[in-house]
């Protein structure tokens, strides 16, 4: 048994639902008890979908057990076929049905239906949502392409005539982060390069579109969590190469263009014309982000400590942007998806941090509190952690909530995506000029601790405390949470003298937490029991070396 408060991923059948929901002409029959229909609301509420997910549930009850639960499956399949007239039926089961072993997939296959049936094995007690999505996408494509696999060793046909190169965009699904707009953005990018999009799948694809996948020259493995398995299979069976770069951030987008040009047989220099790495002007890139990042207002972004925890693809890409394009310091990098742990570990090594591979929310919270970042880039879960710790946060990956599906066009991939990310990450921080003014006028009554950035709502990042508090509060205790589990000071920890505490109060609030922690660590390491003004400045000198 595994103790879980919050879960990053749902069970694997929710992954299967994401595939079915993303497509047209596909219906999923789930052998599941009452209650499992809760998953419908993820799609209708978080994603604001205006139709029900194409899923039927058998809704078996305790009194059916030992009776004929299998009959419920065949009835549900028959009803779904008649009512929804899908071109393909997926048949799976949720955790409870797995235990009663009705084999709904085989049952449906034995019904001699007029449409293809894809039986899904979704081991609920060992696998999770992303795996379920990836497996369902793969099994669906495998079934639909079974009769099109060329014999081994067949050379891949060359591009006929003057036809433009064609690519498939693989992996975007419902409930994933910004897929809707990323697909558009990458489509625009490919169009500019002279590459046609053959099929986008699963998002918006029909079974016939899946059958057309091999007509492309190569695959863009855009969301490897969902599409890596299928892209690898297409590479093996159909000789279709696949991309490896996730086009998130200006540098990665440029790399992606070069990679796509290579696969499409185009000249990368042509495709990248107008991209002038390292140049500081508005016209040095199709994205404004490089110039914005070099403009002097951004000076204050330098070295901001950022903690990144997300799905692997977004986390790795975000770390690169943070380090190379924003000038942040990556103080933490991790993922909840063990399937991609190796990739994340490799990336983390580049930034000199140890990767955090965990789906334990409390462990992530502890790691964030310990790293004391100034910005957290994460999921809906990290949004809550950051809120509780009083740290700025931007969401960069699913699991998401309704506010992460904005009405406006807001991709995170490609050049426009880089603009969106610049804004999204800088917004929760203090604007450069404002931070500068706060430093200059910090004794001014309007620039007290509680004065938050003028563009943010009234909540201050740190709870105001009297400057000469008698007993120091634990470092990370910002937003008071009734059920907080923030580690408190141990009895043997160094104590602040009133003078030391008063001096600490003169340090601008947005760096005060760091100053407090550094000073306490400095004192602890040297066995200093009373933190005076001297200790504070000794520590400051020590850490600024």
């Amino acid at each position: 048994m595994q103790l879980t408060l919050w879960t990053y991923e749902g069970p694997p059948h929710v992954g299967a639902m994401r595939i079915a929901d993303s497509m047209r002409g596909v219906h999923l029959v789930l052998h599941a008890p009452q209650g499992d229909t809760y998953a419908d609301l993820l799609f209708t509420m978080i994603d604001r979908q205006d139709r029900r997910p194409p899923v039927s549930y058998t809704t078996f009850q305790a009194r059916d057990l030992g009776g004929d639960t299998a009959n419920l499956v065949t009835r549900a399949v028959t009803d779904a076929l008649e009512r929804f007239q899908p071109q393909v039926i997926l048949v799976g089961e949720s955790c409870t049905a797995e235990l009663i072993q009705d084999q709904p997939g085989s049952l449906a296959q034995g019904m001699r239906l007029p449409v293809p049936v894809v039986p899904l094995e979704l081991p609920a007690y060992s696998k999770k949502e992303n795996w379920g999505a990836s497996e369902t996408f793969y099994q669906l494509a495998r079934t639909l392409l079974a009769d099109r696999i060329p014999p081994p060793g067949t050379p891949r046909p060359g591009r006929e005539g003057a036809r433009r190169p064609r690519a498939n965009l693989l992996g975007p699904t419902a409930l994933a982060f910004r897929c809707r707009d990323d697909v558009t953005e990458i489509g625009i990018l490919l169009e500019k390069m002279g590459v046609d999009v053959n099929v986008v799948a699963p998002l918006g694809a029909s079974p016939d579109d899946i059958r057309r996948l091999p007509e492309a020259d190569f695959n863009i493995d855009l969301y490897p969590e969902v599409s890596r398995t299928l892209a690898t299979w297409l590479e093996r069976q159909f000789g279709m190469p696949r991309t490896k770069v996730i086009p998130m951030g200006v540098g990665a987008t440029r790399d992606f263009i070069a990679e796509v040009a290579g696969l499409a047989g185009l000249d990368p220099a042509v495709a990248l014309a107008g991209e002038l790495p390292g140049q500081a002007s508005r016209s040095s890139s199709a994205s404004r982000a490089p110039w914005y990042s070099r403009s002097v207002d951004s000076t204050y972004l330098t070295g901001k400590r950022v903690f990144i925890f997300a799905d692997a693809a977004h986390a790795i890409a975000a770390a690169r942007i943070a380090a190379e394009e924003m000038g942040f310091t990556v103080v933490g990098l991790g993922t909840f998806d063990r399937a991609f742990a190796r990739d994340v570990r490799e990336a983390a090594a580049k930034y000199g941090v140890e990767a955090l591979i965990s789906d334990d929310y409390l462990e992530v919270e502890k790691a964030i509190a310990a790293a004391s970042p100034e910005l957290v880039l994460g999921t809906q879960m990290e949004r809550h952690i950051a809120k509780r710790l009083g740290i700025a946060c931007a969401v960069i990956s699913s699991p998401i909530h309704v506010q992460d599906v904005p009405a406006r066009y807001s991709p995170v991939f490609g050049f426009e995506g880089a603009n969106v990310l610049f804004d999204a990450w800088v917004h929760p921080l203090m604007m450069g000029l404002e931070e500068h003014l706060l430093q200059m006028f910090r004794e001014d009554f309007e620039f007290h601790d509680g004065a938050a950035a003028s563009h943010l709502p009234a909540a201050s990042p740190a709870a105001p405390r009297p400057a000469a508090a008698v007993a120091p509060a634990p470092p990370a205790q910002a937003a008071p949470a009734p059920e907080a589990a923030v580690p408190a000071n141990e009895p043997g920890d160094p104590q602040w003298t009133p003078d030391g505490e008063k001096e600490l109060g003169k340090i601008p609030f947005f760096v005060r937490g760091k100053a407090r922690r550094n000073t306490e660590r400095f004192a602890l390491e040297r066995g200093i029991r009373r933190i005076t003004v001297e200790t504070l400045y000794d520590a400051k000198a020590h850490f600024s070396r």
């Binding site: 048994m1 408060l5 809760y38 060992s126």
Partner: protein, 427 residues
């Protein structure tokens, strides 16, 4: 509209016939009983709920709770893994280990509920035995209870019924004459009711559950039960088995429902009409005034209630009698006649009463009827809006204080707002 000037005007229409019940079986778009944890843990502030189940259970609760309202909630899931199913790990040992870890983290917890789920029921994990074993080890610091919230046995609000019923055997015995209000109500509502009962001279008044699960009210032959929620049938019957008696009444929704509900207690305590009227008149006046806006908006409109929380029957009565709506269909996950004995005669005779659900057929009826307002679950609301129907998602009705006089206006507002919104937005 019925004359509400006398609180006794809740007599059923003469010679009315029981509505025909349409029983259906098929796909249900209803939560399972685990969902109740979301409000149960807010009500009982010393209680922790540990679901023994799957990742689906954990995902369900956090999705129903709107994902992550609380940093460290007082509920969690012990997720069964392959090792547990293969018998490689002893379920008892695993559960003990998890409970001890959990209680070490949270010394403020005095009551622990082990909550069964579909998978734990199917593999026949004996949580009663586990609770007994843990009690031997942890009591009196922590009292451990167990109940089932599984979807194969319970719908949505039955989870609360099962949780409260699990408390009944440990309630102390008493012969004292007392009023026991059964069912979770918001603290603010509880305080209002306490004041009204005090003014009526009814007492002592106790609540199940209490704000601290540990403070279990006593029960016995002198106990009279006033049910605040229509879904606690098993709890009520368990209390009756311990000597308590149920005061039959409509549920305290709206001015009429609240008055009739209070009157059931007042009659049992022999409160005279004059005093009753004097105490309730200000509340009735405020409730009626606060319902006026919703009434203007909804009167004459047609409503369809899909099955969800078991509140459908009392709410249909309220919408019909106090807001002047006509009721097309009232769906209820199951029909517990004893619990709604005082409500059924107050439903309009033209309303269809349906029990259980065949989702697709019911949606066909919704589309054919084109109601002015459809009360349904979150999974259906946006799709139906997109089809041009106005909806009210029903989970709000269990998360919002809606009982009593002072909340009557809020309750009306819940139904009026979607209709008002559609009228405001220009095509």
């Amino acid at each position: 509209m019925n004359d509400l000037s006398t609180p006794r005007a809740v007599e059923p229409a003469a010679g009315r016939i029981e509505p025909i019940v349409l029983r259906e079986r098929g796909q249900r778009e209803v939560f399972c009983g685990l969902t109740g944890i979301v409000w149960l843990h807010r009500k009982m502030q010393d209680a922790f709920f540990l679901v023994v189940g799957s990742r689906t259970c954990a995902h369900l609760i956090q999705s129903a709770a709107g994902v992550m309202i609380f940093a460290e909630p007082r509920f969690a899931t012990a997720i069964l893994t392959d090792r547990d199913l293969a018998g490689l790990a002893d379920a008892g040992d695993e559960l003990d280990r998890i409970c001890v870890t959990l209680l070490e983290r949270r010394p403020d917890i005095a009551t622990l509920f082990l909550v069964g789920s579909c998978p734990s029921e199917v593999i026949k994990l004996d949580l009663a035995k586990a609770a007994e074993r843990l009690n031997a080890r942890l009591f009196p610091r922590v009292r451990v209870h167990n109940y089932s919230g599984s979807g194969i046995e319970t719908t949505f609000t039955q989870g609360e019924d099962n949780a409260l019923r699990a408390l009944v055997p440990t309630m102390p015995a008493t012969d004292e004459r007392q009023l026991l209000v059964v069912g979770c109500v918001a603290d603010v509502v509880e305080d209002q009711l306490v004041r009204i009962f005090a003014d009526l001279g009814i007492g002592p008044v106790r609540f199940l559950p209490a704000r601290r699960a540990r403070d279990l009210p006593p029960v016995g032959p002198g106990t009279l039960l006033l049910l605040a929620q229509p879904f606690n049938g098993e709890t009520a019957r368990a209390l009756v088995a311990r000597g308590a008696r149920i005061l039959q009444a409509p549920y305290p929704f709206g001015a009429e429902g609240t008055t009739a509900w209070l009157r059931a207690a007042a009659d049992a305590w022999g409160v005279d009409t004059e005093r009753f009227d004097a105490v309730t008149a200000p509340g009735i006046a405020r409730a009626r005034a606060s319902l006026e806006r919703a009434r203007e908006r909804l009167s004459g409109k047609r409503v369809f209630l899909m099955p969800d929380s078991q509140l459908e029957i009392p709410l249909a009565r309220f919408l019909h009698r106090e807001l002047g709506m006509s009721v097309i269909e009232v769906g209820t996950p199951y029909l517990d006649r004893q619990m709604v004995a005082a409500e059924l005669p107050l439903l309009p005779p033209e309303a269809t009463l349906s029990e259980g659900q065949h989702l697709e057929r019911q949606l066909d009826r919704v589309r054919a009827a084109k109601p002015d307002l459809t009360v349904c679950g979150l999974g259906l609301a946006n799709p139906l809006e997109a089809e041009g129907l106005t909806t009210k998602w029903s989970i709000e009705l269990v998360f919002t204080p809606i009982h009593g006089y002072e909340q009557a206006g809020d309750l009306g507002g819940i139904f009026a707002r979607p209709v008002e919104r559609r009228e405001r937005l220009k095509p």
